[in-house]
Symmetry: C2
Subunit: 319 residues, 2 copies
């Protein structure tokens, strides 16, 4: 078997120039139907496969997608949401011959963002954990190849998902419903919070809000506070399964029955939600699809369309 065929050989065999062959095979620029067929034929006959790296270099494009996760804590890279998203991105990027790199960004990430913009190996950036201020302060050097995951880009319709669970709680007789929300600095924390306050007002129910951070530890602590501060509470809704599992643990420790005394709902439908006891009632979060969409948008240079992916309630045992 001869060595790998190159573009020049394909062109020669098709009877055209390398320029034309390149145009045809990369799908950029004009080409007559005749030469198109000739080039394609020659390519398949020779088993030609373009060299991805040479391609990116010539085009001045990078070879990897950076998944930048902004958060207070550096160990956010172990968060289930992050690992799911990162893995899905790494699978999605495969189609374009790209790889994925993940990096933690502190809340004040301006310096790091400049370095990212200067890195020529980076084809696109997907940012998570942002807020308005950060998006407004983006380096102009991040041209089109930039996207966000979460509020503003592809995201789960968390307002609808949480609303559905809240309505379920209401329908099943709950009237003292507390919510453990997301971190206030995070743009994605708003929609479900607004949905909650809106529904409570609408139903004439009291608003009882705690701040969470998507961890079980915070869920435990918040649940204890809820019990102390609002003794009559009959339901605790959360915006993350990890938080809800922490709540479940705190309630079990306190000898409170779930769902008889207090109902609990999560959000995300992580694999372990179904394995909890009692099994956690929650709402789906199509992280994999969202992550793939974010990669496509960033790589394609599409201005981040704020696409919302549906969230469906999953009724199990805790509510």
């Amino acid at each position: 078997m001869t060595s790998r065929p190159q573009l020049a050989e394909v062109a020669r065999r098709a009877g055209v120039s390398v320029a034309t062959a390149s145009r045809v095979l990369s799908g950029r620029g004009p080409a007559s139907a005749a030469s198109r067929d000739a080039v394609r034929g020659a390519a398949t006959e020779l088993g030609y496969v373009p060299h991805p790296v040479a391609r990116r270099l010539a085009r001045g494009a990078g070879t990897r997608v950076l998944f930048a996760v902004r958060d207070r804590r550096a160990d956010i890279l172990r968060d289930p949401f992050v690992t799911r998203a990162a893995t899905a991105m790494a699978a999605a990027a495969d189609a374009d011959g790209l790889g994925v790199t993940v990096r933690h960004l502190p809340l004040d990430a301006s310096a790091e963002l400049d370095r990212i913009a200067a890195d020529r190996s980076i084809a696109a950036v997907v940012l998570a954990g942002h807020d308005r201020a950060l998006l407004d302060a983006l380096p102009a050097a991040l041209p089109g190849r930039f996207g966000v995951i979460g509020a503003g880009g592809p995201d789960v319709d968390s307002a609808a998902g949480v609303s559905a669970l809240l309505r379920h709680l209401h329908l099943t007789g709950r009237r003292r419903i507390a919510l453990i929300g997301g971190p206030p600095w995070l743009a994605a924390s708003r929609p479900p919070m607004d949905a909650y306050t809106g529904l409570m007002h609408e139903a004439g129910l009291p608003v009882r809000v705690m701040t969470g951070d998507f961890t079980a530890a915070r869920g435990r602590a918040a649940a204890q506070t809820v019990l102390r501060r609002w003794p009559g509470t009959d339901a605790i809704a959360t915006v993350s399964d990890a938080t809800a599992l922490g709540v479940l643990q705190a309630l079990a420790t306190a000898g409170i029955r779930v769902p008889d005394d207090i109902a609990v709902t999560g959000f995300d439908d992580v694999p372990f939600a179904a394995s909890a006891y009692p099994a956690l009632t929650t709402a789906t979060h199509p992280v994999e699809e969202i992550a793939a969409a974010a990669v496509r948008a960033a790589v394609g240079g599409t201005p981040a369309a704020a696409q919302l992916f549906p969230s469906h309630p999953v009724l199990r045992a805790t509510a």
Copy 2:
């Protein structure tokens, strides 16, 4: 601000040729102390940063690390172990300017492996979920840039980790200890299994083994079978937290008290293990470090040293 300095400019400023500048900056090939200093000085003065893509192309190396996960199920890419490892790899690859791609491989992956070997954008491959047969059938085209994670490469010392938990069970009075192991086709399933049978024989205890697959569903089913088949069981050890959580759920449903009636142990110490109720006793699995080591070995072209990372017991409430 002028445009980016290139190697030629650095060389000119340092008064040497581009070849010498390249040798100095890439650390390959000889160079006198004098020219070394000159080149380094010029580079920092100019703020020179090599173009990663051009570098890889010239070297004929790829730009991404492929994390290939072999398994029966395609949704293995959502497995917590896989997502943790993939994310850690993506973080580790950052240091080399590489990206990571993940791909699922069926149990019979020979064809796919050939395609991988032919992909010039792939700098290195890290394989998970292998067995002897697969390793023996690797395409010769995967030169040095290949490594495995799990038995044979960087791996957790699961035999030691499980042994420690088994000894703890024995010390606390358990005598009818069943084990739910890993899938038999997986090389990494052997060590903990051998450790279990060895310890049981040594202690004169009965060997009671079920096959697991690292899922909670299988853990539930296996636990039910254990209860039926071996009524006197007073402990169920597993080799994965997901499995153990399934066991916990099955026992709770059956009205069996944990740990009073039956003790349960997991393995991996995933974040949710601490959030279960009762909190799961398990052993640590430094997935992130192992993944990083695997990437380093594969990228560095080091023949996979079978390095074992320690596993420490984490005693919580279930045993």
